[in-house]
């Protein structure tokens, strides 16, 4: 085993390539995945390598091609459907909720939909209200789905394969702000499961729970806090559905203080679910209220200073931690 340095984008691409090489039932389908090379250049080069049948450009028809992925999955293929960004996935929500997530149960276990849907998510690039949604936590509401949010290059590289092995639909959210991030990772990639969270930093004073695009901000905040002698543990959820309660509660039992960081809009955020689970399962471990750092409840504005103000950042996390540690008990 060796170590290689690659970007998150490259990790996504290699994961697709490898899956296509390993299993001929796998194919990639979506808008501009082929000739254009992918709107984030993730699939660049794959058309040449695998040809237009397996790297399949679609017309602008999100509902149509997501539904086609479902049908193909039922009939024995292993489609990777790319929706350019989560913003356009709303057009395919009926297919995702009413078909992909539901068919196995509704058919009494006869059908399975081994479909992987990848999409970019997140704000922070001044793309304004219609192109800046962070809905991965919202999708985690839907029974029948597995929802992944790789926050590090290694996970971007390693999570696709187990997702494809899952007999049921898996959504993978790639935070667009991460595509250019780079890391040295194991090659071949480690075997990861798609059931457990990862503790990215150990600490004893406070638990910071986050995922995806907020992970790096949270780690940076933890490092800043370390200089103030606050020792923060950082839990990267990685899997937004099903949530890995065990890892969360173990950390809470240790630190007794929690801040959840989540790029979703505050009300009805995944952070609310995490908070509630902690209340349900570890209330007596808590030394004070759980705090959330989420996005402001606005359609994300274009202007940079306003967009920045709307999103979680290192400062807001640090402040929330200080406030949490300063409070009561």
């Amino acid at each position: 085993m060796s170590r290689v340095t690659m970007t998150y984008r490259e990790a996504c691409r290699q994961a697709i390539r490898e899956a296509m090489l390993r299993d001929e039932r796998v194919f990639l389908m979506g808008e501009d995945v082929g000739a254009y090379g992918g709107c984030f250049a993730v699939s660049k080069g794959l058309l040449d390598e695998f040809g237009p049948s397996r790297i399949r450009d679609t017309p602008l028809s999100e509902s149509g091609f997501v539904g086609a992925g479902i049908g193909a999955a039922i009939e024995g293929m292993r489609p990777i459907v790319e929706i350019m960004t989560v913003n356009f996935s709303l057009l395919a929500l009926d297919q995702i909720m009413n078909n992909a997530a539901t068919l196995r149960h509704m058919s009494g276990g006869q059908l399975g939909v081994p479909l992987v849907i990848r999409m970019a998510t997140g704000a922070g690039r001044q793309l304004a209200a219609q192109h800046s949604h962070s809905l991965e936590g919202w999708y985690a509401h839907i029974p029948g789905l597995t929802v992944l949010a790789p926050g590090v290059v290694e996970d971007a590289r390693a999570m696709l394969w187990p997702a494809l092995q899952d007999p049921d639909p898996v959504l993978i959210f790639e935070n667009a702000a991460l595509y250019n991030s780079e890391a040295e990772i194991d090659d071949p990639p480690p075997v990861v499961d798609i059931r457990s969270a990862a503790v990215r930093r150990h600490g004893s004073d406070v638990t910071l729970i986050t995922y995806g695009g907020s992970l790096h901000k949270t780690i940076a905040a933890a490092e800043q806090l370390a200089s103030e002698d606050i020792d923060a543990e950082v839990v990267d959820l990685r899997v937004l559905r099903p949530l890995d309660d065990a890892t969360i509660m173990a950390s809470v039992a240790n630190t007794h203080r929690v801040v959840v960081v989540d790029e979703g809009w505050r009300t009805g955020s995944l952070a609310a679910e995490i908070t509630t689970r902690i209340v349900e399962q570890a209330f007596w471990d808590l030394d004070g209220p759980v705090a959330r750092v989420c996005s402001a409840e606005v359609p994300i504005p274009y202007a940079k200073h306003l967009e920045d103000a709307a999103l979680p950042d290192v400062d807001k996390i640090v402040h929330a931690v200080r406030r949490t540690l300063g409070e009561g008990a």
Binding site: S61, G67, G71, A73, P143, P167
Partner: protein, 338 residues
Amino acid sequence: MNEAIKHPPRTHSEPLTVGTAEHRRALLQQMMLVRRFEERCVELYQAAKIRGFLHLYIGEEAVAVGAMQSLEPRDVVLATYREHGHALARGVDPGAVMAEMFGKVNGCSRGRGGSMHLFDVSHGLLGGNAIVAGHLPMAVGVGLASRMQRTGSVAACFFGEGAVAEGEFHESMNLASLWKLPVVFLCENNSYAMGTAVERSEAQTDLSLKASTYGVPAYRIDGMDVEAVEQGVRGAVAIARESGPVFVELMTYRFRAHSMYDPELYRDKQEVAAWREHDPITLLADRLRAAGDLDDDALAQMELAVTETVDAAVAMAETGELEPVDDLTRFVHAEATR
């Protein structure tokens, strides 16, 4: 009859190539089975044995029965919530269908689906979809899998004319045509989507025209004539298997309400009566009699056989078990993965 009344079709698009007497009697018996099965469902609904929504196919039997004749076991059927006829004509055990509507574990979807969600993978029946046009994109995917795996199978996708207005129709037709997929789009045009007459839902009511703008060949067939349906769909299936999607419009009519809750304010009794004159079962029975291929005795025997089948189905449903409540969360995911 006033202007607004929709007229039953009077002619066939192509001269009929008539099958053997035996085959024609089999068609008749299948239609009778669907009819009697559903008539029993109404009774059982009134007796509160069946609940939820119940959409009857009565009047439209020729469509499913005729269309299924040319499908092979490897082919896949996708249908709407009005799919009892499709399940039965495809060969799904009537007992399993009835048990499903009773919510029993021996139902074809273990009681989890009910009337609107009949599944039987062993018969290539992928539902029973209750979102109008929701299964059209799936049919495209089934066709895609067939092409990519070279299985030669065809996806037969049934839907009402109301579904044509949905965006999914448009996206699915385009995709299927662009990729030349083996999908037969079978539009059951019964003139109404719930209470909405097709003139009030489609700016262009000639639905076959729509198909042509996707480069998809289109056929309009008298959906009250099971033999016309069989013949027309056979051709369509052959084209689909060979070269790409086909659109078939089947002109039919539902004799009953949209569902059990429909007061039918939107259509004329006269109109319903006029269509009842074209009852697909009577039509074929008369044709058989005229050809000397059916007499009272034979018909009575068929009725008897059908009644026995329906009785047996009800018995199976009655005696079926309820699934243990503890199994509620089974099948949300595959068993092994959680």
